[in-house]
Symmetry: D2
Subunit: 288 residues, 4 copies
């Protein structure tokens, strides 16, 4: 087996980028396994993801990375080169509703989600045992509703410490019912995914299933999006819906919604981990 | 073949309604073919739809209707008794985008939609020939963007005339791009269906596919709802969605959306025609 | 809170059944909360499910049950009267693939699935710890591929013992990869649900995702059905599908299929537990 | 506006194909608008589709085509170079059920489906007027059920004549209820699309909705596939499903199925017309 990599890049669109990238790969003894690109006619940006194998034994990781750095510089591109076998390190945050956490943990243990999970953070104690059954350290960082800003920042300081200590690549808010401070949102730009339990932009904010019930919609949904300072307005990664009817109570909508939330969040995390998601302003490019 | 009827009723919920209705039917020589009911724990209203056959040759339509009138009075119910074989009379309104019109017309001609369509109304001439190919009178009632209120009311007076002349049961706004006056909305309460080309409550108002594109959603939808004076806020009858991705332009979203709109509107019209839709305040009960 | 019940019945269709049932309920001081019925024009059978509250303090459970027995006798009906609050007792069987088991267990613990699970049976040891983390006894009843018939019957004798000991209402084959003997299938008629990882009747038998991949289908599915002696031919309870494309490997289809399987099986189990599923020959009536 | 092209090619997979193609395009003054590729690890075949603009005024169509011919030769590839603006010429065949025909015609007229339709062929007269309303010549080529082989071949000879006369690129069997002869199937390999009204491989052959009803499935579907001599076994292009329930008759399944058929067939035709479908043995690659 040859070493495999995934490269992603985005830059201003112009003629010849694909040629440049494929030339770079050929020169470095690499064979394309999968490749996708997209040129956005509005933002004039070009996005690319290439999964490839390094088939030349004489080529080193260092030389490849140096070459890729030069390529990005030449193209004026924002680029990244990932070892395809390395498991990204994920920190999961949760409050008192655990179906998304449980779903992610099972995928993790059964090998469906190739990640490391060095820590689970919660402002409650509910899932202490679930974390223990997976041998994952559980950090109880309580934060009361209506806590002062300084209390919140103190709690976040401990989260940031965990991010650093464990060299976290991705934060997943798996029904974490606290709003992150603007500072933390900025620090996590493009590497924190939240699940919102509505089909955004419908039913932002609190109690979306109750809102959906009141409006009498015939489908309910869930949205996985990047966290930004602007609540529920972050770039959307994935959405899905399920049919409901007039006879269903808010509780029934909530129960049906849980399955949608779990699946939507799991897809978004998987795509992140496979380096399939690129940011395009307030939107995402997903090479699924 | 016995004559068949569909009864619908709604009233304050209390014990024994089903018993009363089934007793009434048995006493009048009727056999239940299909029955559905729903008690809303919030509004405390009870809704019922029964499809039945009148199997007693000695029982007349008049007696049955008289008995049903008494039943509704006793129950304090809002009720209706429909001859199941009678085709409701539908007036379709359209502007310059015709896929919903074309879809409804084909269903009508092929017998999938058991209605009479005595008139098509448009503020444009685009579908004059399509109407002609179905032998349906086409009424061109132009109304400029930004027309005065008096011009609008004059145009609507002609629409109202058509509603009366043709004893219209249902008005379908099949991409009719004019806002009806509050007076006409009131007059048509519960018998005018609009198709909005978004998954309401997301993207109300103009150009919803452009709004959806800008927000970067991963599914687009359509909503059939009853027309009310509050634009895009009427009771929702049916919704559906289709998957889209980052590479699609507004035009592509629009093309995909057309198929969703056609199907969603056709379902709503069919359910109306089959007397499956009951109003529950700002929501609908759909016995589908 | 009044005591609540769910009655189900099926009998030859004839005029007046709904009247008889609603009369019986009224006479016994019961108020209908939810009711659904279906008359099959082909089998000439009538099916009914009524959820009701016993609101008369003077009426006892014994009298109600006696009255229901007489009603069923009069109607020639196959009927059942369930205490709506009683949790059905479920035994789950699994082999080496555990996503359905994990999903059911989480729903059970979080209260989404109101059941008792007194035992998990497996022919392998893989989920010993998962069962332990839920405090559910795990019975390892190994059975080799190609075991003799007598070995198989001996293993099944121990399963039957568990069914009796724990007064099991429902057996769920959550990816249990052994074929039950005809005798056990008969004994479990109408109370054992299997999940098959294809959209039946496509891709019966072994390795359905590999079959689906070979055929190049564009959607893959899962089917929950009652277990019968005729493998993969039992009455279908629920099905769903997910989109796939040409670029996906068998492993990817399998991963996507897991989510569909979990949700489809969970729905079927929930409907069973809520007494929503009635057998109609080789088909099911599902009052969902 | 520059002239635009779409190239497709398939060949044995090996390192450097993308580089070769992108080099060819750069050398000929072409800029990639959209590009997709797929390497099948099983068949070891590589597939590619590139949409590009010819931005060099000095480069002629002839030179570009010559260069592409050489490129394909070098790569041992099966390739095609399509003028992106040219509308493919489609012949539609239909019998007595017309929803797919009507749907395609409306998309054609409203510009959603950029094709020419020089002829409609039917073994019945039912859609003579519909064709006339679109100004498309209607060829009534009757063929009785149970016609002799010679009668069939004579009828097909007239079809072949139409294919030649009108230089047809694609034949669409839009519910054409005759089986094509093996000879005609061969002649049309990869350029005739059929809609089958089931989710293949379930319910091959006649009356699939009746088969689905008998089996009690909970979803019904439709499949668009390339026509081959092996009935209902051709490479699948697109499939979709819709939910049904136990209360629906065969007629209701059929009505619901019509909408699925129309949409599935329309997608398949659109993808063909956009040169998005490549054959991979008995399967398709669809760059959607």
């Amino acid at each position: 087996m040859y070493p495999e990599y995934i490269l992603t890049l985005s830059c201003l669109d112009h003629r010849g980028i694909v040629l440049r990238v494929s030339g770079f790969l050929a020169e470095h003894g690499c064979n394309i396994i999968d490749s996708a690109q997209f040129g956005d006619p509005e933002s004039k940006l070009f996005f690319m993801r290439v999964h490839f194998a390094l088939e030349d034994d004489a080529m080193s990781d260092e030389l490849l990375r140096a070459g890729f750095g030069s390529l990005c510089e030449d193209l004026g591109a924002d680029g990244a080169l990932h070892d395809a076998k390395r498991k990204p390190r994920v920190l999961i945050m949760v409050s008192k509703i655990g179906h998304c956490l449980n779903d992610l943990l099972f995928r993790y243990r059964s090998g469906l989600l190739p990640v490391e999970i060095p820590a689970i953070v919660s402002n409650h104690m509910d899932f202490y045992q679930l974390a223990a059954s997976y041998n994952i350290p559980f950090h109880h960082l309580p934060l009361e509703a209506g806590a002062s800003e300084s209390a919140k920042l103190a709690q976040e300081a401990r989260i940031i410490e965990l991010l650093d200590t464990h060299r976290i690549d991705l934060v997943v808010l798996a029904r974490y019912m606290q709003i992150l401070s603007p500072g933390l949102c900025d620090a996590l730009k493009g590497r924190a995914i939240n699940i919102h339990h509505s089909f955004l932009p419908s039913f932002k904010g609190a109690r979306p299933y109750a809102q959906a019930h009141r409006r009498g919609v015939k489908l309910i949904g869930a949205t996985a999006h990047f966290v930004t300072g602007d609540l529920d307005e972050g770039p959307i990664i994935e959405q899905d819906v399920e049919r409901v009817d007039h006879a269903m109570s808010v509780d029934q909508l909530t129960a049906i919604g849980r399955d949608v939330e779990s699946v939507v969040l799991a897809r978004a995390v998987k795509w992140f981990v496979e380096h399939r998601i690129l940011l395009n302003g307030d939107k995402t490019v997903v090479f699924s």
